[in-house]
Point group: C2
């Protein structure tokens, strides 16, 4: 049932023009009772947050290249590739549109990945930048480009971004 509902939302978001997402519309597309959807998720924001969380969890493998610079460059490239998927972008914008819960679901896992990369550098004996500053300077431009201006970011861009952070 969970899979059918998630897929129904993804399909509805992909349609152009996108139908407005309501529980009855989603339930009809998934072939389940609306009451079942209400009982499990409560509302569209909770449902979108659940979908965003499951979509953005474990989608990017934290790289281990042997250096902080290499790890961050590869990670930025992976996230940029993921954000270039039109379905991902539609899901992310819809989740943002539902409010704080959806926004958090879009970034929580990315933030955890960055923290893991910085922790590994510390365990190598390095002194990486703080996670907040790293998020500002890497996740900031990545999400700004994807969500607001939909401008593709190539591999050179990842290197420039990481160089701006690490010097």
């Amino acid at each position: 049932m969970r899979y059918a509902v998630h897929r129904a939302v993804t399909e509805l978001l992909a349609e152009d023009p996108a139908e407005s997402l309501t529980i009855p519309v989603i339930a009809a597309r998934a072939g389940v009772h609306a009451t079942t959807v209400y009982r499990r998720w409560g509302s569209v924001p909770e449902l979108l947050s659940d979908i965003a969380t499951s979509r953005f969890s474990g989608d990017v493998v934290v790289p281990d290249t042997g250096s902080l610079r290499g790890d961050l460059e590869r990670w930025v490239g992976q996230v940029a590739t993921d954000l270039a998927d039109p379905d991902v972008l539609k899901l992310m914008r819809a989740a943002v549109g539902t409010g704080p819960l959806g926004c958090d679901a879009c970034v929580a896992d990315r933030h955890a990945q960055l923290a893991a990369i910085l922790d590994r550098e510390r365990s190598r004996g390095g002194a990486p930048p703080e996670v907040e500053r790293t998020a500002d300077l890497l996740l900031g431009p990545l999400y700004y480009r994807a969500v607001f201006i939909d401008r593709p970011a190539g591999p050179d861009w990842a290197r420039t971004l990481v160089a701006g952070l690490l010097g």
Copy 2:
């Protein structure tokens, strides 16, 4: 009529939990006929884009402090202050949720302001960074913090951000 409809949307967005935005709901709140709203804006995305454009146009005055660093620091501070307004944040998230049109309406004017600041530096004989890189490193973190993690950004943060760009 335009003002009444804009105000109706702002009111509906401010309510908790936010009612789902449809043309009939908006028209009823504004006290106008739904057909009038359909005729003028066509759909909710167009309407939200119009509201975002009018809200984000001319809301920040391009500063002229005599130096690029000073201009950028003051501008980042102004934008951060604006983005800390809960009504602005709700409008921006709702506009993003409607798709590319709404996203563009949120950033077009900011991008033009940055270009104006960089142009002024060129007219002073300076060699400012490119507008794309400037947008990545200033608008990126500003919008990421506001939209995704809702973390307030103080004046020190603006200085650090600009120092990261200008060295």
